[in-house]
């Protein structure tokens, strides 16, 4: 394995080294150095992700880098697999991370200990989960990212965060136990944990063991759907996201997408075409569960009073949409869903950052800050003054308003931003019967998806308009919030990426469709992972 191929492991090793290095420095005294290391590490991660994306998107059908940790051959050792989907998720993660970390520099990273190391460890867990090709390794990376997220959720302390954190931790610990039960059941039936090897072995599983295998897969799916926030496993989510500090909530927008990513990958790899009697296992559950999630999220957005909670319910709508689209099992729908996933995650992430800036103006020392003040004693707003970094910007309200409109357009899916193109692509694909039902009527799943998407877009539009009117027009006595350039820039950065996704919709869509095609043809993935391992075993040879 030479040169550039080693880059595949960089998204895991880089945050690990950065995080560990930061722990060695005393966080309080060297805060500026630690913050600089965090920003530098995240920028490097963006660069690595861009290079990896370029590597993954070559003309050769389904080419991917397979990285053998410890150089053991594939079914025995643990592999990292880079394909289009994982490269895409890596890039999305690193972009969100960059925005959050820059935003946190203005004030939030001073509100508690170890923000920066935890942030890097979270990135390590996320990147590992996206890259790994082994179920148990996936568990390890999941635990890693969850452990870091427990710490980050509590960042800033205060009763609201501790209460939400307590529920979040219990729910996720139980999900991890379900994950373990599912993994061990699957191991007990198939005798392997390598995803490619599993995919190859599942068609040959005897009929009497199939029930056990599907039970294991179902357990595993519950664990992931809990993270993805599928109804009825999602009641913890809006509270936890609303309680988290804004930069943390912003990076948490990708955490539900980890669950969605795994569901997408495993359902197509293990139960896609050619997996024998189990083909299409659970896809109805995904479809209807996804539709129910969209409905629940839409009602939630209408019901929520506070802007951060509105964001939390938008997260639900977003992951519900991708899950339902996965459940339809059509290539072109999956392509549209991936486009939607990127655009909605960027929009929601920007929205979480923006929500805090808007709330800050509504009542001086807004509720979020009051919470932290409580934990730090009664010095009224003393940490508000003087300490902030960066320059104040002019025309604050105008800029905030423009950013709010941008977020609303992306989340609700109105033209001209990327949310519209995403939903348009999803709906045309769902209603075009050529894919699986040549010449026939539009399948029921297509209508269900259409209805759910349109109604949820409308609900999001109403809720966001109401929130916008409330905070920009209907409060004449509001003070103009003190917003720093360093806080506004990340929001604009995310929105500009959404705009770029709109302008470059053609090439981006081609990439998404190529991704969807290779996902729906798992044979390529299996062959690449296991074939390369044949070469590897010759190299290891003498054992």
């Amino acid at each position: 394995m030479s040169g550039i191929a080693n880059l595949v492991v960089a998204p895991i090793v880089l945050p690990l080294l950065a995080g560990a290095g930061m722990l060695l420095l005393n966080g309080e005294r060297h805060r500026n150095i630690v913050a600089a290391v965090n920003v530098a590490g995240t920028v490097a991660l963006v660069c690595v992700a861009v290079i990896l994306l370029g590597m993954s998107d070559s003309d050769h059908p389904g080419i991917r880098e397979v990285y053998h940790l410890g150089d053991w051959p594939a079914p025995f050792g643990i592999v990292l697999v880079l394909d289009r989907l994982s490269a895409l998720m890596l890039l999305l993660t690193s972009i969100l991370a960059l925005a959050s970390v820059v935003f946190s520099l203005a004030r939030w990273h001073r509100k508690g200990a170890h923000f920066h190391p935890l942030f890097q460890f979270l990135l390590m867990g996320l990147n590992g989960a996206f890259l790994t090709g082994d179920l148990f390794n996936l568990f390890v990376f999941f635990e890693l990212l969850l452990a870091a997220s427990y710490g980050l959720l509590l960042h800033g302390s205060g009763l609201a965060r501790v209460k939400a954190g307590l529920h979040y931790i219990v729910v996720n610990l139980v999900a991890s136990l379900l994950f373990l039960i599912g993994v061990s059941l699957i191991y007990g039936v198939t005798g392997t944990l390598n995803m490619a090897d599993l995919s190859a072995r599942i068609p040959a599983i005897a009929a009497e063991s199939r029930g056990l295998l599907e039970a294991g897969a179902g357990m595993l799916a519950v664990a992931f759907l809990l993270k993805a926030g599928m109804w009825p496993l999602c009641f913890w989510l809006p509270t936890a996201y609303a309680a988290a500090s804004p930069p943390v909530a912003s990076i948490f927008a990708i955490m539900t997408k980890v669950g969605v990513y795994i569901i997408l990958r495993l359902s197509l790899l293990l139960f896609g075409e050619g997996s024998g009697a189990s083909a299409g296992f659970g896809s109805d559950w995904l479809l209807w569960g996804g539709v129910a999630t969209i409905a629940f999220g839409a009602i939630g957005t209408l019901a929520s009073q506070d802007t951060a909670r509105l964001g939390g319910f938008s997260v639900l709508v977003s992951s519900g949409t991708v899950l339902a689209a996965t459940g339809t099992g059509q290539v072109s729908v999956t392509g549209g869903a991936l486009f939607y996933l990127v655009s909605s995650t960027l929009g929601i992430s920007a929205f979480f950052l923006l929500a805090e800036l808007i709330e800050r103006g509504r009542e001086p020392g807004a509720d979020v800050i009051a919470v932290t003040r409580e934990a730090y004693g009664e010095d009224d707003g003393a940490d508000d003054t003087g300490e902030e970094v960066g320059t104040a910007i002019v025309a604050t309200m105008g800029l905030l308003g423009v950013a709010f409109i941008g977020c609303a357009l992306v989340i609700a899916g109105l033209p001209p931003l990327s949310g519209f193109i995403a939903k348009f692509a999803l709906l045309t694909a769902a209603l075009r019967p050529s894919d699986m039902h040549p010449g026939g009527a539009v399948p029921g799943s297509g209508w269900a998806l259409l209805l759910a998407l349109l109604v949820s877009s409308f609900a999001a539009l109403v809720a966001l308009t109401r929130a916008g009117i409330r905070s920009f027009w209907a409060s004449p006595d509001r003070t103009v919030p003190r917003v720093r350039l360093i806080e506004m820039a990340p929001i604009m950065f995310l929105l500009i990426i959404c705009a770029a996704q709109t302008v470059l919709a053609g090439p981006v869509m081609r990439f998404m469709q190529a991704t969807a095609q290779s996902l729906h043809a798992p044979a390529g993935y299996v062959n690449d992972v296991l074939e390369i391992s044949v070469r590897g075993s010759r190299k290891v040879g003498g054992e």
Partner: protein, 113 residues
């Protein structure tokens, strides 16, 4: 052997689930611990239950089915370590909640009776 193991796992799981649904944080953490014991035993059981089977040694592999499966043991070790760490982390949050809310109810406030 299989029966007693299955009954053991079942008893641990049942007690764990019951405790997790209790309103006090201490009961929840004990419930989580019991559940993780049950899951750890379950992982070992998934590598087939066998007494006195030797571990795999490279020189004398012979019939692989006669050996104990080493992988579940490695998995269980990892699961124990991770479970231990997350339980410790949860304990800290539990204490923070107790300190801030002045109650050990999982919702951070006593239910209005």
């Amino acid at each position: 052997m299989e029966l007693s193991l299955a009954i053991g796992i079942g008893a641990l799981t049942a007690s764990g689930v019951w405790l997790i649904l209790r309103p006090r944080t201490f009961q929840v953490i004990i419930g989580l611990s019991l559940l993780s014991y049950a899951v750890n035993l379950f992982i070992v059981a998934m590598g087939r239950v066998r007494t006195g089977a030797p571990v795999l040694i490279a020189k004398e592999i012979g019939d692989a089915t006669k050996h104990a499966d080493p992988l579940p043991q490695a998995l269980v070790l990892t699961a124990i370590v991770i479970g231990f760490a997350t339980t410790a982390l949860f304990l800290v949050v539990l204490l923070a909640s107790r300190g801030l809310a002045r109650t050990d109810h999982v919702d951070g406030q006593e239910p209005e009776a």
